[in-house]
């Protein structure tokens, strides 16, 4: 299939999902509330005099985003289960890869929205300077990696028993590596280190993204073909 077609179909799938979300807004409001609550838990679950904000901020940022993203990912294929919508989607004369890409784009926009809400809140609550351009790049690179794997896995887990529990169990081992790199890079950037010091972590994140996005596009048909 020609690539403009693939992308056009992918965008059609993504815009469908985003439209559904835009009409109801249940998921985004729930996840945003969840983010605020997790940040509050962090605030009350630690001794504020013992650990400084700038030391803790990378962990807070990544733990919050991880859990919020998992909640969001669960929903990607959940909405297709109602009225066998997934069968309809699979019957459409489009490449399987474009269905995956569409879901990936929708999930990325969804998770990015959560991060856009979460980041200023972290800056506000924990009094750290987070809106620096390299940090946004770190967050974007890490997010692409784990959302790519998560979208693939959620296509499988929704059709198993205990879907909500199984997705984090399968996904977290794949999230830990990019999270670790991202958290290290975030720590350096929040401490005011220059971009050149985090270049290595950024490269690792980029390689991880490329490998797993390609892999997921190739493997996705196996998760939906009967």
């Amino acid at each position: 299939m020609r690539s403009p077609e693939l992308l056009r179909h992918a965008w059609a799938v993504a815009s469908k999902d985003l439209l559904v979300e835009l009409r109801s807004r249940t998921a985004i409001v729930s996840v945003a509330t969840f983010v605020v609550l997790v940040l509050m838990v962090f605030n009350f679950g630690r001794d504020q005099t013992a650990v400084s904000n700038v030391d803790l901020a990378p962990s807070i940022l990544w733990v919050t985003f991880t859990f919020a993203a998992i909640l969001a990912l669960n929903r990607a294929f959940q909405i297709e289960l109602e009225n066998q919508a997934l069968d309809g989607l699979l019957l459409a004369p489009i490449d399987r890869g474009s269905i995956y890409l569409g879901k990936l784009i929708a999930n990325l926009i969804f998770v990015a929205t959560i991060e856009v809400i979460g980041l200023p809140l972290i800056a506000l609550f924990f009094n750290v300077r987070v809106l620096v351009a390299p940090l946004v790049m770190v967050i974007a690179l890490a997010t692409v990696g784990f959302v790519a794997v998560g979208t693939l896995f959620s296509a499988m887990t929704v059709r198993t028993r205990f879907a909500e529990l199984l997705l984090p169990v399968l996904l977290l081992p794949f999230m830990i590596l990019p999270l670790r790199w991202a958290a290290l890079a975030t720590g350096l950037l929040l401490a005011g280190r220059p971009l050149s010091e985090v270049q290595g972590w950024l490269n690792m994140l980029a390689v991880y993204d490329v490998v797993f996005v390609v892999l997921a596009i190739l493997l996705f048909p196996a998760t939906v073909n009967e």
Binding site: M156, V169, I176, G200, L215
Partner: protein, 223 residues
């Protein structure tokens, strides 16, 4: 049924030879100068670690071929290899802290290789959980294959990370560029142990393969 019997025989021989590894390691191999007696665990720890990781690579390779050929034997092999890999990971995760306590002074350190063996273990557990959560055999095999391939692709990243993190772990001394930095008699014991673990892997996998075949037959007759 013959598979099961062959597997049992191989395992029996391997376990007997494992006793031989203990004897050779304890009585006929020199005590390491700086670590003393604790270093003996190396002869179990490292071969188990090698097979824990290799088993994941086999799971991935079998999964790739499975997705092309849909041959149920490959799925059965992948499942068996994953189960055996889980056991070997458990061996690494128990012998590691036992070795770490006298040498590092702590049972557990969030050291790169220990941590990543832990999450290789979790990968295996996730793989087995996924298999148990899908009732339909066809879907189970496909889902497991997808996860197996992803798991295999993650192993190189884990390896790369090992070299990038500050660590208490010794750097590889056998599998490294150039000659192994290990005295001859220790190397012989270690290679002997690696051979025994290879045999154990084969024995376990053959048995598990036979059991999953029997289980599938049972499922078919139940339906």
């Amino acid at each position: 049924m013959t598979h099961l019997r062959v597997g049992r025989w191989i395992t029996a021989v391997a376990l007997l030879l494992l006793a031989g590894v203990y004897v050779r390691a304890l009585a006929y191999t020199p005590v390491e100068a700086s670590q003393g007696f604790a270093q003996k665990i190396f002869y179990l720890h490292v071969p188990a670690a090698i097979w824990a990781e290799t088993a994941m690579i086999f799971v991935g390779l079998a999964s790739i071929v499975y997705l092309f050929t849909k041959d149920p034997r490959l799925d059965r092999f992948a499942a068996s290899s994953a189960e055996v890999g889980t056991v070997f990971c458990a061996i690494v995760l128990t012998t590691g802290p036992i070795w770490g306590k006298p040498i590092w002074g702590t049972w557990w350190s969030w050291d790169a290789r220990l941590t990543f063996t832990l999450f290789l273990f979790l990968l295996y557990v996730g793989y087995l959980l996924l298999r148990s959560a899908v009732p339909d055999p066809g879907a189970r095999a496909r889902f497991a294959a997808v996860l197996g391939i992803c798991g295999m692709c993650e192993v190189p990243f884990i390896h790369l990370s090992v070299y990038m993190f500050p660590t208490l772990h010794p750097m590889p001394i056998v599998l490294q560029p150039g000659r192994p930095k290990l005295p001859g008699s220790m190397l012989t014991t270690w290679l002997f142990s690696l051979g025994v673990f290879t045999l154990l892997y084969v024995g376990f996998v053959v048995q598990r393969y036979a059991v999953s075949y029997l289980r599938e037959q049972l499922e078919v007759t139940e339906q």
